[in-house]
């Protein structure tokens, strides 16, 4: 048996194993928009017969463009993945992440381009695909395992491990329709986690289940990549997880590959991609007011340290909250106030020149106010910025409770790959824990 393989194994010794395990070459994917109706059907039938007629010159694009509108979900994507790498795919909604995963998992085909895959792929785009509610946990483990590409014998060999990981041994012979949603998800992930492909493709399945279980899943995935040297492609909106877990990243934006490389560079590119031009500031003239006597504040925006307008900022990045005002009178000894609230309307902190400055600002009728915060250190999430403008003696001129939205994005500031969560409070202060000799 080994003799015919001998030559092959010699080659694999002398040729360094540097061939990428996945090579994506100018892959594009087009979707047709709109409804399918009698007209599209007629077009298809016509095309079909046309191809028969012009057999000689038929080597063109399979579906010649028609007048129905089109949408390119992916456009000319190329990158490669080395064996053992863990690659995070990031991008906003509708950036083409899911389409890319679907093509890599062979669920659909690209419109053009080519992908070479040198290993078996298991994709986990959803937990519990193919689970049948009437079947018992035991039956579903076998069914789901084989759907994901294992043989029955392989499932059998892993069966006890799967049951132990899912912690459902008491309910093994109960139909899964009687399971709690937590048990269902645990069982489904357990089956998937025990696949042993060379390449594992994982969509945001970790968004389901409780916090403890999410941690267990992440741990298991880390284990798969670190100890078994498997290649993992991982899509998530959770930048903390991506940052901790992935070596490299791919950043998709509107169907194009914007950045590909070390994960920290890719995350930076992602964060700064939401920059607008300076003139794209937000008009707040029409925003509802919560105080004051006039609509003096006209525009508001947040800048990063390069002066670009953003609506996202890293947890430890300097931000500049700015607003432009134009009052109907000269404001004597003006007061400029800023507040940051969480999504529930709870005030996290405020900033105002009455408190922070010893001497007053000069009288003004109009101008641009800038509030610089070197590090917000707010826990990752959405925040609402309030803006206030006042006059000597505590007179409120204008006050907008909900002027701007700001997304704070996690970064691995402790170098541990971990970050505090909403349950731990609102801010992540600077500090350190150590033991002192007793």
């Amino acid at each position: 048996m080994w003799i015919p393989c001998k030559r092959r194994s010699l080659i694999s010794i002398f040729v360094p194993m540097s061939r990428p395990i996945i090579e994506v070459e100018s892959v594009s994917k087009r979707y047709k928009l709109g409804q399918f109706n009698a007209q599209t059907m007629r077009e298809e039938v016509e095309q079909f017969f046309q191809r028969f007629r012009k057999k000689g010159e038929a080597a063109g694009i399979p579906h010649a463009p028609t007048n129905s509108s089109e949408f390119w979900a992916l456009k000319d994507i190329s990158f490669s993945v080395e064996p053992g790498e863990v690659v995070g795919i990031i991008g906003r909604n509708a950036a083409g992440k899911s389409t890319l995963l679907k093509i890599l998992s062979r669920i659909t085909e690209p419109t053009s381009g080519e992908i070479r895959i040198r290993g078996r792929v298991a994709s986990l785009l959803e937990v519990g695909t193919g689970f049948h509610p009437e079947l018992t946990g035991r039956e579903n483990i076998y069914l789901n395992g084989t759907i994901l590409g294992m043989t029955k014998a392989e499932v059998k060999a892993k069966f006890d491990e799967i049951v132990a990981f899912a912690e459902i041994d008491k309910f093994l012979d109960t139909p899964v329709k009687r399971y709690s949603s937590g048990m269902y998800v645990r069982l489904a992930f357990a089956v998937a986690a025990h696949l042993e492909p060379e390449i594992l493709i994982v969509d945001e399945v970790l968004a389901v289940g409780d916090l403890n279980f999410q941690k267990k899943c992440l741990g298991k995935m880390q284990d798969i990549s670190a100890n078994n040297g498997r290649t993992v492609l991982f899509v998530s909106h959770n930048l903390t997880a991506i940052n901790a877990f992935c070596h490299r990243g791919v950043f998709l934006d509107h169907g194009r590959l914007t950045e590909h490389g070390a994960i920290s560079d890719v995350i930076n590119a992602y964060v700064s991609s939401n920059l607008h031009n300076k003139d794209q500031t937000l008009s707040v003239f029409d925003a509802p007011r919560s105080g004051g006597d006039q609509k003096a504040i006209t525009e508001a925006w947040v800048e990063n340290k390069s002066g670009q307008v953003v609506n996202e900022a890293l947890i430890d990045e300097p931000i500049f909250i700015c607003y432009r005002f134009n009052a109907d009178r000269i404001l004597k000894n003006p007061g400029y106030g800023f507040g940051v609230n969480d999504m529930l309307g709870q005030r996290i902190f405020s900033f105002a020149n009455y408190v922070t400055r010893g001497e007053p600002f000069a009288d003004a009728k109009e101008g641009v106010v800038v509030c610089c915060i070197p590090k917000t250190r707010l826990l990752p999430g959405q925040y609402i910025i309030s803006l206030g403008l006042g006059e000597r003696g505590g007179v409120s001129v204008d006050y907008i409770e909900q002027a701007l939205k700001l997304q704070i994005i996690s970064r691995d500031i402790f170098g541990t790959g971990k970050m505090f969560e909403a349950a731990h409070g609102y801010v992540c202060v600077d500090g350190e824990i150590s033991l002192r000799d007793a």
């Binding site: 092959r8 690209p110 895959i117 009437e134």
Partner: protein, 286 residues
């Protein structure tokens, strides 16, 4: 997962043309095929009291209804055979065909959710329907044989019918019916993926088709010069042959049979190719 050779390489690219059928891949997923059969079988009659008895009751009730309506009321002759037995024999092949057709034609749309999330050779699903319906057919065949023996040995009609030696061909006949139902089912399934109109059509097709097939009437009732029309229906000969094999009555002409087999082969091959073509990108349109 099984060991992968070091030079394993799989290429994903847009496929042009019709002949990229990977049957080896279907074979690799054979365990899934049998687990799907098991799922169909187990899940179908969960939470019913009679369970798999329904496999027997359904065709029996049909036969009783036919006996009353077509035998007693409409008085359609049955080649001199006991009507109950005649209808049961006709329904054997037909029920199998109709059930398989209906489940395979729903393949793509009914499993869209699963197909959108995981890859496996899609052909596994319709093949599993063929096999799980085969189990139902076996149960019905057993029921039929019980009735056959009762009529043979305990009624006066016993001398009017009997097996013919051609019964040895029955496995091939069942293969042909499987192939035909799979072929037609795959056609419908592929068409339904894009245009749902065909969903409504498939229920209608199967009803009309039954009346065009000699299930409730013998082929001998059709005047000889018009029989060739009935034979353009590829299900006519298999259903008639089934009655002939078990009961010794029926019009089975080799030339007609050749037409039926030829059409079956054509429908199966084109059905598989069309399904295979549509399946590659159908999640985009479903």
């Amino acid at each position: 997962m099984t060991h992968v050779p070091p030079d394993y390489e799989f290429v994903i690219r847009p496929t042009r043309g019709w002949f990229h059928l990977d049957l080896a891949d279907v074979w690799r997923y054979r365990d899934l095929l049998f687990l799907l059969v098991q799922r169909d079988f187990v899940a179908k009659y969960k939470q019913t009291i009679l369970g798999p008895l329904w496999f027997i009751i359904q065709p029996l009730l049909m036969s009783v209804v036919f006996t009353v309506i077509f035998g007693k009321v409409a008085k359609i002759p049955t080649d001199g055979l006991p009507p109950m037995l005649f209808y049961l024999a006709g329904l054997l092949g037909w029920t199998y065909f109709a059930q398989t057709f209906q489940s395979t034609s729903a393949t793509l749309v009914a499993n869209a959710g699963m197909f959108g999330k995981v890859y496996f050779p899609r052909l596994v699903v319709p093949l599993s329907s063929v096999i799980s319906n085969l189990i139902a057919l076996a149960i019905q065949l057993g029921t039929f044989l019980c009735f056959w023996m009762w009529f043979k040995f305990f009624t006066t009609a016993g001398s009017t019918f009997g097996f013919t030696s051609d019964i040895v061909w029955i496995p091939l006949l069942i293969v042909q019916i499987s192939a035909l139902s799979l072929g037609v089912g795959l056609w419908l399934s592929a068409l339904t993926a894009k245009y749902r109109d065909f969903t409504f059509l498939s229920g209608f097709i199967i009803q009309i088709w039954m009346y065009m097939t000699p299930v409730i009437y013998p082929l001998s009732q059709i005047p000889q010069e018009w029989q060739w029309v009935a034979v353009l229906n590829p299900m006519s000969m298999p259903v008639e042959a089934m009655k002939y094999m078990f009961l010794g009555q029926g019009v089975v002409i080799p030339a007609y049979f050749a037409v039926s087999v030829g059409m079956t082969a054509f429908l199966l091959v084109t059905g598989v190719l069309l399904f295979n073509k549509v399946e590659r990108t159908f999640v985009d349109t479903v």
